[in-house]
C-alpha cells in the first residue's frame, strides 16, 4: 500500500484553485477552468527528500474545497466532512483582490476548528489570533494567484502585504500565475519552497509521531 497525505485548499470562489491544483499535479496549465461545485481531488506524486539517499516517493492528495466563507451553514457543515484527515493546509488568495486575503483568516479558523461543530460558537469572530497559529501543528502554505495581472508599479506594495500575511500564519508564501508553468520550474525558489512544504508535512505525519517509518510507495 502506498502512503498518502491529505491537503485542503481553502479560498474564495474565483481565485484560481482549480488551475493551481492542476498545475501542481500535472505540471500543465488547465485549459478550461470551470466553476467548482463541491469538492474536487487531485493527486501529485512527490519525492520526499529528493536528491538524498533517503529519497522516497509519496502520494499527495490535494482536496480543493470550494465555495465561500460566508456560505450558508448547511454548506459549511457539508464541507466539514472533508476536514477530517487534514495533514496540511494551502491557503489560496487572489493578489488582485485584497478581500480574498482577508477571508483567509476565516478559512483557516474554519478548517482548524474542525473539532468544533460547524454550528458551534467560535470564540473569535474571524479576527486573527496569533496564539492560535503559534502552536498549530498543521503546516500552512499561503499561495497568491494572478500575479501577472498586477502591474509592475504596484508589485512591491502587494508583495509586502502578502509577506505580512504569510508571517501572520507562520507560513511560507508563494506568489505565482497559474497559467504559466515557469513559476514552478524545477530549481526555482518557488519549487524549492513547495518541496520543503510537502516534506514538512510528510515528516509531521510519519516520522515525528513515533520515529518509525511507515510504509512508502514502491
Amino acid at each position: 500500500t502506498a502512503s498518502q497525505e491529505l491537503f485542503s485548499l481553502c479560498a474564495l470562489a474565483g481565485v484560481g484553485k482549480s488551475s493551481l491544483v492542476h498545475l501542481l499535479c500535472h505540471n500543465q496549465v488547465l485549459g478550461n477552468p470551470s466553476w467548482t461545485v463541491g469538492c474536487s481531488v487531485d493527486v501529485r506524486i512527490h519525492d520526499y527528500k529528493e536528491g538524498t539517499p533517503e529519497e522516497k516517493t509519496y502520494y499527495i492528495e490535494l482536496w480543493d474545497v470550494g465555495g465561500s466563507v460566508g456560505s450558508a451553514t448547511s454548506v459549511k457543515s457539508t464541507r466539514a466532512v472533508f476536514y477530517n484527515l487534514l495533514n496540511g493546509i494551502i491557503l489560496v488568495h487572489d493578489l488582485t483582490n485584497k478581500k480574498s486575503s482577508q477571508n483567509l483568516y476565516r478559512w483557516s479558523l474554519e478548517a482548524l476548528n474542525r473539532d468544533v461543530a460547524p454550528t458551534g460558537v467560535l470564540v473569535t469572530n474571524g479576527d486573527y489570533d496569533r496564539e492560535q497559529f503559534g502552536d498549530n501543528q498543521i503546516p500552512l502554505l499561503v499561495i497568491g494567484t494572478k500575479l501577472d495581472q498586477i502591474p509592475e508599479t504596484k508589485r512591491n506594495e502587494v508583495l509586502t502585504r502578502t509577506a505580512f500575511l504569510a508571517e501572520d500564519f507562520n507560513a511560507e508564501e508563494i506568489n505565482l500565475d497559474c497559467t504559466n508553468p515557469r513559476y514552478l520550474a524545477a530549481g526555482s525558489s518557488n519549487a524549492v519552497k513547495l518541496s520543503r512544504f510537502f516534506d514538512k508535512v510528510i515528516e509531521k505525519r510519519y516520522f515525528l509521531r513515533d520515529g518509525n517509518q511507515v510504509c512508502h510507495f514502491s
Binding site: 461545485v37 481531488v41 465561500s68 488582485t96 483582490n97
Partner: protein, 452 residues
Amino acid sequence: MQVLSASSFLQVLFFGFGWLFFMRKLFKDYEVRQYVVQVIFSVTFAFSCTMFELIIFEILGVLNSSSRYFHWKLNLCVILLILVFMVPFYIGYFVVSNIRLLHRQKLLFACVVWLTFMYFFWKLGDPFPILSPKHGILSIEQLISRVGVIGVTLMALLSGFGAVNCPYTYMSYFLRNVTDADILALERRLLQTMDMIVSKKKRIAVAHRTMFQRGEVHNRPTGFWGMIKSVTTSVPGSENLSLIQQEVDALEELSRQLFLETADLHATKERIEYSKTFQGKYFNFLGYFFSIYCVWKIFMATINIVFDRVGKTDPVTRGIEITVNYLGIQFDVKFWSQHISFILVGIIIVTSIRGLLITLTKFFYAISSSKSSNVIVLLLAQIMGMYFVSSVLLIRMSMPPEYRTIITEVLGELQFNFYHRWFDVIFLVSALSSILFLYLAHKQAPEKHMAL
C-alpha cells in the same frame, strides 16, 4: 425654499444608503476597482427612492402643487436618462472590456452595443397597445411606456414566484423528514466516492510518471506520419488510461451531485430545527395566512383577465366606503383617507424596496464572479431602476383619486389599464409555473433518498 433643501437632503441620504448597501452587502467579497460602477448604482437608487418620496409628499401635501409637478418632471427625466442612456452604455463598456479581442476599441464597441440595445428597446413598443398615436417620436411617454412594460413584467414575475414560494418556505407541512442517519449515510457515500476518485487518479498519476520516465511522452501526434504511427504502435497503457479517465469523470459528476444533496439535507435539517422554535412556529402560522392570500390573488387575477375588468376604486376608498356604509361608523373621510393611504402606500413602498434589494443580493451572490461583478451589478441597477419606475405606475391604483392626478399628469397619457392587465397575466403565468416547478422539485426529492 427650506423644503427644497429638505428634499435634496433626502436625496443625498438615499445616495448614501445606496453607496453603503453596495459596499457592505453586494461587494463585500470583491474589491471595487471601478468607482464609476458604485456611483451609478447609488445614483440610480437615489433617484428611484426620490420618486417614492415625491408620492409621499403628494399624499401629505408638502410643497405646493406646481413645485411638486416640477420636481416630478425633473426626477423622471433624470431617471429615464440614467436607465436608457447611461446604464446600458456602461454595461456595454464593461462587457467589452472583459473580451480581450475588442480591448483596443472599447468605446467604439460600447457604442455599438448601446445602439443594438436601443434598437431592441424601441422594437419592444410595437406589439403592445401602450400609446395613443398622437405622441411624437422622442417624448417621455415613448420611453416611459417601454420601461414600464419591462418593469411590470419583472414585478409580476417576482411577485408571482414570491407569492407561491413564501408559504412553501414558511410552512413546515412541506418539510421533508430528515434524520441524522440519513445525513451520515449520504456523507459516507460521498467520502467513498471521493476515495474511489483518489485511487483512480493515483493509478493515472503513476502511469503518467512511468511513461515520462521511460521517455515515452505521447502528446498529440503531429503531422501525417505521426498519425500513421499512432495507429500502428498504440501503447497498451494509454487505452486503459483513457478508460480510467472516463470513469473518473463519471465519479466526479456523481460526487458533485452527492455534495449538493448533502448540503440540501443539512439545510432541511436546520429548517426542521428552526420550525420547532417559537419564531419558527410564528412563521409557520404566517405561512397559512400567506397561502390563503396567494390563492385569493391568483383567483382575483384570473377573474380580472376573464371578465376583462380593472379595479376602479382603490382599497383605501373602498375600505372607507364599507366601514361608513355597512358598519355605520362615521368619521372624517378626508382626514382618515389621507393618513390611511399614507400608511398603506408607505408599507407597499418599503416592502417592495426591501424585497427587491434582498432578491438582488441573493442573485448577485449566486451568479457573480470576480470578472463579471461589474457587469452584473450594473444589470441589477438597471433592473432596480425599471422596477421602481413601474411600481410608481402601478401604485397609482392603490391611491385615492385626488392623489392619483399628479402621476397621471406627469407620466402623460399612458394606457394604465393595459399595464394592470399585463401585470395580472404575467402574475398568473408566473404563479402557476412556480407551483408546477415547486411541485416537481418536491416530488423528486424523496425518491432520490429512497434509492439510498
